[in-house]
Amino acid sequence: MSAVKLHNIVKKFGAFTAVHPMSLDIPERSFVTLLGPSGCGKTTTLRMVAGLLDPTEGDILVAGRQINDVPIHKRNLGIVFQNYALFPHKTVADNVAFGLKHRNIPKEERNRRVAEALELVQLPHLANSYPKQLSGGQQQRIALARAIVIEPDVLLLDEPLSALDANLREDMRVELKRIQEQIGITTIFVTHDQSEALAMSDILVVMSNGRVEQVGAPKEIYSNPTSRFVADFLGTSNILEAEITSEGGQSGLTAAAVGFVPLRDEQMAKLAGRAKAYLVIRAEKIDILPLDAGPDARLSFEGTIEAVDYQGQLVRYFVDVQGMKFQVLNMLSGTTSFEDGDRVSVRFDSQDCVAVGED
């Protein structure tokens, strides 16, 4: 049975539709991420599950029970807010104990469970501190402890990492995932950060303009986007307008600058019934080689480096191939590096190319 089921939920604010009919099955114990740019409806969806917003239409089921009209304090959900929302006038222990107190858990058990929760987030020594005495990362852990100590049916995380600085965010990402796996709680996570989404999720839901664009495992979505939006939003892609053609019995896409690119049948199948076709080449799937490099099985084109964006272990090249601009991400290896104006050989494997359609 799915832990959470959204059935055709819609949210309208006046004439504006924030979430178009949306259905989603969230399996028990899974980590599901709603990913999308701001305004895509991901937070609205989370707030509807939380009970902070009422869906205009549709049903929300938690553990098989319809909860549309269940008030928020009876939903048994753990929510971690973006700004943590710790009660400033209560100690850490009282913050964590809050939900237990309102469930009339006897004091002894309450203290034991608060201690366990603080142990789980590795901050037992802060029980008597006040939130403002804690660092951002600590506050975030306490907010998590407060949400999971009530043993909620579902844990809802509203961009919980976005207020932390970069290094801490990556640590917390690992920590959050560890805790989620340890207690095996169904989790809905909202973020606009694709690396968080790719690293943490069992199931990724990419949203745009109030609609679900694609649902699947992170690897599957990354390697095989089904819409132009997903191809563009996740990672760095080169997206070329293309025509469906075939050469010698092999069908594929023909685009400016690269000409005919043969594609696997399952990619071509994605274009069936779509008005427009695009050829997608991931920036890291393209190689830049010196012009005099020996030929290989890959497609090869001549291009000119227009700009180099040095990023430490990675380097991003902006390359012009017959008037088309390509972005290329390469690992910096040894001595081969290129500079503006260099003529280079641009290579990629047609097997790495993806087709997406658009209506």
Binding site: G51, I72, F98, I150
Partner: protein, 288 residues
């Protein structure tokens, strides 16, 4: 001069007109009052310069002054409590309303456009013998004779509440606005229903605003002079009326000075106690 140096000096340059006026118009006159308080008015009406403690001893020992002081503090306390009870729901409503906050706040400030004295006198037209309230009751045949509603302690408190309520509402409003709405949502999500959330989260977090509003209402109420004159009876005098009486009517500046200083000392110590426990910052927020 470096920007750093200039910026370090700038506050003092900008503050100097205000500081000079405070010095000349407040500190210096206050010093005069202190000096006056040790003089003595003779039977001839002339002030005798010197160091006499007679007025101080009279004011501090005479039960008449003590009773009026207690009555003043009582009226101010009741006014403050009424303002808090009436002001909190209004402030909560404004803070939680969507969109039209600016209009609601404007409505709240609207009475300040009319003179405080006029506003106070308007109660005579409402509660007076031929006022609106009595006229309606007579018209409906509920009473035959107009009721004597004015000129008692209740109408003084009514007038003060009318005057001070916006200060209370503004202060509570400011502290309610400061509360992160997510805190209430978090409390609800943890199982507290709306009422418990209010008592455990919203109310405690808005206490600084309530206290600041309370202090303002109390100090302004206790120092009031006009309201008891317009709406009070002969027995409803407040401490500031005694000051007026001494200085303007009896021309007894030394006695009036002592009375002023006593009132300043009492209200000052209340402000100090408040500051000790809650700090002045909250008060400034409410006034800003």
């Amino acid at each position: 001069m470096s920007i750093e140096k200039r910026e370090a000096r700038q506050p003092w340059v900008l503050l100097s007109p205000a500081l000079v006026s405070i010095l000349l118009l407040l500190i210096v006159p206050l010093m005069f009052i202190v000096v006056y308080s040790f003089w003595l008015r003779t039977a001839t009406g002339a002030d005798q310069v010197g160091f006499y403690l007679d007025n101080w001893i009279e004011v501090l020992t005479d039960e008449f002054y003590r009773d009026i002081l207690l009555q003043t503090l009582r009226i101010a306390s009741v006014t403050t409590i009424v303002c808090a009870v009436m002001g909190y729901p209004a402030a909560y409503f404004i803070a939680r309303s969507r969109g039209n906050k600016a209009i609601l706040l404007l409505l709240l400030m609207l009475p300040f456009w009319i003179s405080y004295i006029i506003r106070t006198m308007s109660w005579i037209n409402i509660l007076g013998v031929s006022g609106a309230f009595n006229s309606v009751l007579m018209m409906l045949g509920i009473i035959d004779e107009p009721l004597q509603l004015l000129y008692n302690e209740v109408t003084v408190i009514l007038g003060l509440v009318h005057f001070l309520l916006p200060f209370m509402i503004l202060n509570i409003y400011v502290s309610l606005e400061d509360i992160d709405r997510n805190l209430e949502d978090a409390a609800c999500s943890l199982g507290a229903h709306r009422g418990r959330t209010f008592l455990e989260i919203t109310l405690p977090l808005s206490l600084p605003g309530l206290a600041a509003g309370g202090l303002l209402c109390f100090v302004l109420g206790a120092g009031t002079y006009i309201t008891p004159v317009i709406l009070g009876g002969p027995r409803d005098a407040m401490f500031a009326n005694l000051v007026f009486e001494a200085i303007i009517t009896q021309l007894d500046w030394p006695l009036g000075s002592v009375l002023s200083l006593v009132l300043i000392a009492v209200l000052g110590s209340i402000v100090l106690v408040y500051n000790r426990f809650l700090g002045m910052r909250q008060l400034m927020k409410g006034l800003a």
